[in-house]
């Protein structure tokens, strides 16, 4: 029982308790009997009152009273008599609420009575009763729900209710329920943009002041924390979705050697083909990319029916990252350069989750050079297992082409008109929170870090990158402090820190190029390589700056997730060995990378945990999001695979076209039948844990 002290029972207690129990048992039996017999006499209704007085949660007794009221009201015609019957019921509900102010049954009985609209409602009384109950417990969420119900029922305007929340907050800053209701009302009002309602800018400035005052009164009281975070999110993100990166980027010059299609090998005029992905990356999830919302103009030959695909795990239709694959089928004569013009005009098709449309038109062009090349495509032969260049100072390797810097160009989104205001507002908050952070206040430091990163994000829109780096560095220091200050939430701060670190490492050319190189593999064209080893990164951020990467080394970090990597549609080699990946479901984003050939998963924690925390993040039979069941049946019948044990491995490996896989050092790798399973699921696999697959 909540809040009841544990103590040994005494004999006299036993006797009293059994008498009390006997009485309750009789009462419950009688009420149920009357309910089943449909007896609605005054006496039997009175018994149900007695029961609810003792036990307001006896839901069948509430049902019985509703039936009795419906039955008895039918006989009444005098409005006064009806009113008095309703009043009786309201009284019962009130008595029950005094006994248990959190009784679902009693609160609902009251709402149900009002909804019957059998008698005029005494709103003054209702609001007065509610006030009394909220005085006893200002956080009673049933009470607040009833307040919102009454406001709707009576047609109270939102700005009136906003004043009520202000009163409650003035009574006591530490009232999360009031802050919550305020956020609901305010966002309603903002959506309605009702007449006379002031500008968003003014409102948010006032709200910032209000909540900051509360936060400074007691920074450890959580009541205002989430309200402040909401205001921050509203202030730092643009109202409309924006394109923030693409591959290929503006003015990029790419050359591709064609692959001779096997089927056409013996015909006279050889047809050559090549798949070129185009990736568009937005600042927030959007939907509605199609051949009319995104214009593509080129003298290259590819199918006219361009399909844009959201690169996301769920089929929600919304994604930050969209891809299409051009199937270029030009007849190849000689070396030739083609241009591809892309433009995304303002569009009502492209909308964000909140319903804002795309309204910053972009136009860019990139160039593709086609090389007909009869030489064997060495990369696809995989005569030998590919070795990762493990040297930390791989920079010093000679004979490497410089990274084409144009690949690093980020399509700069249009700067918002009012971002100056955003920036000023955030700068003011930063000054304030520097004070709090100095006092070793956890919330002060965390908020300061968030403010700095929000400023950094605004800074990237056409402003100084050096300044951006400064913000990131200060935030990184704060996260380090927080890990010491609040060790219970260490991993939360580590995850947040990882994003700030990825930001810092990739936000300016000077830092970024230290991690970039061109790697030459035998028999293969040079590959653009990025190395982020031993950085204690726990998750991926800013994947939009890595869209061009073909070889990525993230080994020796603390990655638990690879979300974000699905955007890297050029990726061929991925090394995530020596991390903390704990399940195949956590690797699901990799199944979206169709170019991936070499994957090093060695020394992770796959199979070591009984609870899979990505089980519901990834589409599965449990979430009704996969046609897996049929596939499972097939594998079970044909290959005698244990589906219950390996369902996640089946879903992962069957979507990959790997030539090389390393999975040593994971618990799952030593399980019976696992090796056979992998080889069955990836027929094109040539190298498995360093050994050739026969």
């Amino acid at each position: 029982m909540h809040g009841r002290p544990r103590r040994p029972a005494k004999p006299e207690d036993d006797e009293a308790a059994s008498a009390k129990a006997a009485k309750l048992r009789d009462l419950q039996a009688q009420v149920l009997h009357n309910h089943h017999a449909r007896t609605y006499t005054k006496e039997s209704i009175g018994l149900s009152f007695k029961l609810l007085e003792t036990n307001p949660e006896a839901y069948t007794a509430w049902n019985y009273r509703k039936l009795a009221l419906q039955h008895n009201v039918k006989e009444l015609s005098d409005p006064q008599a009806i009113k008095s019957a309703i009043d009786d019921e309201l009284r019962v509900a009130e008595v029950a609420l005094r006994q248990n102010p959190k009784s679902y049954g009693a609160w609902y009985h009251r709402k149900w009575l009002l909804n019957q609209k059998l008698a005029p409602v005494d709103f003054k009384y209702e609001l007065g009763l509610l006030d009394k109950l909220l005085k006893v417990d200002a956080r009673n969420f049933h009470g607040w729900n009833y307040r919102r119900f009454l406001a709707r029922f009576m047609g109270l305007p939102d700005d009136e209710e906003l004043k009520y929340t202000m009163d409650k907050i003035s009574d006591n800053f530490s009232n999360y329920s009031a802050w919550h209701n305020r956020s609901i009302l305010l966002s309603n009002l903002l959506i309605q943009q009702s007449k006379g309602f002031e500008s968003k800018q003014k409102i948010f400035s006032e709200e910032f002041e209000l909540v900051t005052q509360a936060l400074f009164t007691d920074p450890s009281d959580q009541s205002g924390w989430f309200y402040h975070l909401w205001l921050l999110a509203q202030t730092s993100s643009p109202d409309n979705p924006q394109l923030i990166a693409s591959w290929p980027s503006n003015a990029a010059k790419l050359s591709f050697s064609f692959i001779k299609e096997k089927a056409e090998q013996h015909t006279l005029s050889s047809v050559w083909s090549r798949t070129v992905p185009i990736v568009l990356y937005f600042n927030e999830p959007v939907k509605g990319l199609n051949h009319s919302s995104v214009n593509l103009k080129s003298d290259l030959e590819f199918g006219k029916d361009i399909q844009w695909r959201p690169l996301t795990m769920a089929d929600s239709g919304y994604s930050k990252c969209w891809a299409t694959y051009l199937q270029i089928t030009n007849e190849c004569s000689s070396l030739q350069e083609y241009s591809v013009e892309m433009s995304i005009p303002c569009s009502d098709d492209i909308v964000s989750r909140s319903g804002s449309n795309y309204n910053c038109p972009v136009h860019f062009t990139f160039y593709i050079e086609l090389i007909s090349n009869n030489a064997a495509q060495g990369l696809d032969t995989f005569d030998k297992p590919v070795a990762w260049n493990c040297s930390d100072s791989f920079q010093s390797h000679g004979n490497r082409d410089p990274i084409p810097l144009d690949l690093l160009n980020i399509t700069s989104a249009l700067v918002e008109h009012d971002s100056d205001w955003h920036f000023e507002r955030l700068s003011e908050e930063i000054d304030l929170f520097r004070e709090l952070a100095d006092d070793n206040s956890k919330f002060g430091k965390l908020t300061l870090a968030r403010l700095l990163l929000a400023c950094a994000a605004i800074k990237s829109r056409g402003r100084s990158l050096i300044e951006r780096k400064g913000y990131c560095e200060e935030a990184l220091g704060l996260f380090t402090d927080l890990i010491h200050l609040d060790p219970s939430h260490k991993q939360y701060y580590e995850d947040e820190r990882s994003l700030a670190l990825m930001d810092k490492l990739t936000c300016d050319m000077e830092t970024f190029t230290k991690h970039c190189s061109v790697q030459v593999q035998p028999n293969s064209a040079p590959l653009h390589h990025v190395q982020f080893r031993r950085l204690s990164v726990t998750r991926i951020g800013f994947a939009e700056r890595l869209l061009w990467v073909q070889m990525l080394d993230l080994s020796h970090n603390s990655l638990r997730s690879v979300e974000g990597l699905e955007a890297l549609q050029r990726l061929v080699f991925l090394n995530i060995s020596n991390n903390q990946i704990s399940s195949f479901t956590a690797l699901e984003p990799l199944t979206k990378i169709i170019s991936l050939k070499v994957l090093d998963l060695s020394f992770n924690e796959i199979g070591a945990h009984s609870i899979d925390t990505a089980r519901y993040i990834c589409p599965s039979p449990f979430s009704h999001k996969t046609e897996a069941s049929e596939a499972f049946e097939e594998y079970q019948e044909v290959n005698n695979i244990n589906v219950t044990e390996y369902w996640d491995a089946i879903l992962f490996f069957r979507s990959l076209k790997l030539a090389q896989l390393d999975i040593r050092g994971n618990a799952v790798a030593s399980k019976d039948g696992f090796r056979t399973l992998v080889v069955t699921l990836i027929p094109c696999l040539k190298w498995f844990d360093g050994e050739g697959v026969s």
Binding site: M1, L24, E57, N63, W230, T613, V643
Partner: protein, 329 residues
């Protein structure tokens, strides 16, 4: 862990079996109308502790079916009580534990639940029309376990749950309702079961949830409230479903839960030194199932100390039961 507190599994089993027999105490009577919920909590705990065989399956199934209302297709909380989705889910879950869904008229039960969906996609708890996101979860969970989700408009059900999302990333009982860990579990569970977790800002909700951990290691259900062991299930399972459970301190939480045990009589209470009840016994152990039990528990398990089976965070049933239902034809 410094304090050598152990999970008193045998005492818990004894406690649950006794509660099943002690129907006549005042406390049991006050809870009489939710006995079917209690059966689900107790029996799931027994299964987690590898002790489901301590009860007579046939007897339990008979009793469950005596709470069934054949005319509506729903279950009451006890014999003679009115049908409601709250108890219908518990009945289905217990039958899943025993792999005895065969005793049900599955379509009739599914029709009862599906019939409670409203035009806006929400669900009423019973014929009287109370709407709450708890009932959305219950309806989706029940229908999913019965392989009958096609009987409802799933998209609308999801849309309603999403309309209850708040600016702190959490969910309330209805649109505009304040975020509460129990309600968040229901909404996250509903979205998990329907493959719709993309509607959640996992970092925002994850931060709200991980800040439920209080200084004493326990978890509360809303900001500025006391810790209570039952939230170790609501908060933990939600965090597991959105892949953010590493954001809390599991060791501290384990210690908090184990300190709530009544080691002499068995059972777990809401806070250290408070009286025990079966509700908290379930939630305490379910919480423990998520916490990779530290090494000394493994050592104990080698000395005839059985471990706790893993639990599915969305269906609130042992993982092996859920895997059987969805992976085996």
């Amino acid at each position: 862990m410094a304090d050598e507190v152990e999970l008193a599994a045998d005492q818990h089993v004894r406690y649950i079996v006794t509660v099943e027999k002690k129907k006549d105490s005042f406390e049991s009577l006050v809870m009489e109308h939710i006995r079917l919920n209690g059966a689900y909590w107790g029996l799931t705990t027994l299964d987690l502790l590898h002790k489901l065989h301590a009860v007579d399956a046939a007897e339990v199934v008979d009793w469950i079916m005596s709470c069934y209302h054949p005319e509506s297709g729903g279950f009451g909380g006890n014999v003679g009580h009115d049908p409601h989705v709250l108890y219908t889910l518990s009945a289905v879950q217990v039958l899943c534990l025993f792999d005895r869904l065969d005793v049900l008229d599955v379509d009739k039960v599914a029709d009862y639940v599906a019939g409670l969906q409203n035009k806006d996609g929400s669900f009423s708890g019973d014929i009287w029309g109370e709407v709450d996101t708890r009932f959305s979860y219950i309806a989706l969970c029940t229908l999913s376990l019965l392989h009958r989700l096609h009987k409802i408009d799933v998209q609308k059900a999801v849309d309603f749950v999403v309309s209850c999302k708040n600016l702190d990333g959490g969910f309330g009982a209805m649109p505009g309702g304040e975020s509460h860990a129990g309600q968040i579990f229901c909404c996250v569970g509903a979205l998990a079961i329907t493959g719709s977790l993309h509607h959640i800002d996992r970092d925002l909700l994850g931060w709200w949830l991980c800040e439920r951990q209080c200084k004493d290691g326990g978890l509360n259900g809303r900001p500025e409230k006391l810790a209570d062991v039952c939230y170790s299930w609501w908060v933990l399972s939600s965090l597991v479903m959105i892949d953010r459970v590493h954001w809390i301190d599991k060791e501290k939480l384990t210690k908090f839960i184990l300190n709530c045990q009544d080691k002499e009589n068995g059972g777990i209470s809401d806070r250290p030194d408070n009286a025990v009840d079966i509700y908290h016994t379930y939630f305490g152990i379910a919480g423990a199932a998520f916490i990779p039990i530290p090494w000394h528990f493994y050592r104990l398990s080698l000395m005839e100390y059985p471990g706790v089976k893993p639990l599915d965070p969305a269906y609130a049933l042992p993982l092996h039961v859920v895997n059987r239902i969805f992976l085996k034809k």
